[in-house]
Amino acid sequence: MPDSKPADDVARYAAEVRATLAHLPDAEREVLLEDLESHLEEVASESGSPLQERLGNPADYAAELRAAYGSGDISVDRRRVPILDRIQSLISAMFGTWAYRELAMLLPQLRPGWWVLRAYLLVLFFALVFKGQHNLSPIPNPFTSLGMLEIVATVVAITISVRIGRRGIPSGAVWRGVALAANIGIVLLAVPTLAQMSTNRAYPLSIEDSSGYYSAFQAGFYGPAVTNIYPYTKDGKALKEILLFDQNGRPLTVANLKEPATDFPVGSDGKPISNEYPLNQRHFNGDPVLPPRVALPLASQSVAPTPSPTPTP
């Protein structure tokens, strides 16, 4: 038997099977018939007899194939929306998981925690409104009147919140809606409130670690940290190697950040001189930090009647 004959036989048989199943949805037909030819080739290679003889007529074969593949019409309809099917099974799989069951068990137990937290967040929000973004800290300072007030308000709010919480979920649809809206509202208010807290600059580090006091230039509290000082004379000459001290005679230092890094000059005693300005600073990439462009007060020399060092007679 010539080689081409079984191949022709397979192709012809497969074509007829495909024609019989042409009415099926594309996706299903694709999956079902994906490797029909290679399967038929296997069958053909097992024996010399024509496929029609072995497998019956192609239409019957197709019908049997279809019957074995799908169990009735319902499955055909289902297969038209495989994505929905998949989502459904995914959801049911999710609800069946250990993690979900644990979470479902845990969440009701966490409710009193939320009652406390929502009271705290609400007071924090009002503190932000009344005090502005400064001084907003996770735990208010009890040694200031505002801080004490905030603490008292928090305790009162927690008491009320827990009381409300213990009443349980309101039965009326309206009240339930109100309660849900209030809780969501607190969450929404908490987002900007907590965001304000995080924009509070970190304390600028003092390089005077040994003495343990903070930099006098913690301007970072009210704005960006001061990281360097550029002294100028009145007539616009930039000064170098200026030593600055505070009212107690301690070296005046600025925020010492990682970027830009500062090279402190070393004194004869081997200790870094922390208050010599402008500081010699470098960026991460090694470039020196260039002095800023400054606007000098132009009129000061001639017009301004400042208390003059030369007393008028």
Binding site: V31, L32, E34, D35, L36, S38, H39, E41, E42, V43, S45, E46, R54, L55, G56, Y61, A62, E64, L65, R66, A67, A68, Y69, G70
Partner: protein
């Protein structure tokens, strides 16, 4: 289909119900390609099973994610698509086998009852 004149049980329908289980069991033994599965089923005594039924069942089980599939080149003849059980398939087989066990016990009892009743 074949079940004519109100005869409720068509042998091919009976077979169809258990074909999934039979195919899974054959593949649990060792990975096989389509025609080999058919041959092994027939060797085990399921002589009525048709090639299209086996092939369709393989495709359906594969589509349902119970089987893995890979092509093995062969020197003589066509490349063969082998099927084997994956974890899901093994789970399905285990579950179905249990169901099958209880089902057959129940049916055996029923049929025994009927045969003794007939004998009387």
């Amino acid at each position: 289909m074949g079940g004519a004149n109100g005869i409720p049980v068509d042998p091919s329908q009976l077979l169809k119900g258990v074909l999934d289980l039979a195919v899974l069991a054959v593949l649990a033994e060792k990975d096989s390609y389509g025609y080999d599965v058919l041959r092994r089923l027939r060797e085990s005594g399921l002589e009525d099973v048709g090639d299209a039924s086996v092939y369709g069942t393989l495709r359906r089980l594969y589509q349902a994610g119970a089987l893995k599939s890979y092509v093995v080149p062969s020197d003589e003849g066509p490349h063969r698509k082998y099927y084997g059980l994956n974890d899901r398939g093994r789970n399905a087989l285990e579950k179905s086998a249990k169901t099958w066990g209880s089902l057959t016990r129940a049916l055996d009892q029923l049929l025994d009852g009927r045969s003794t009743a007939n004998a009387r």
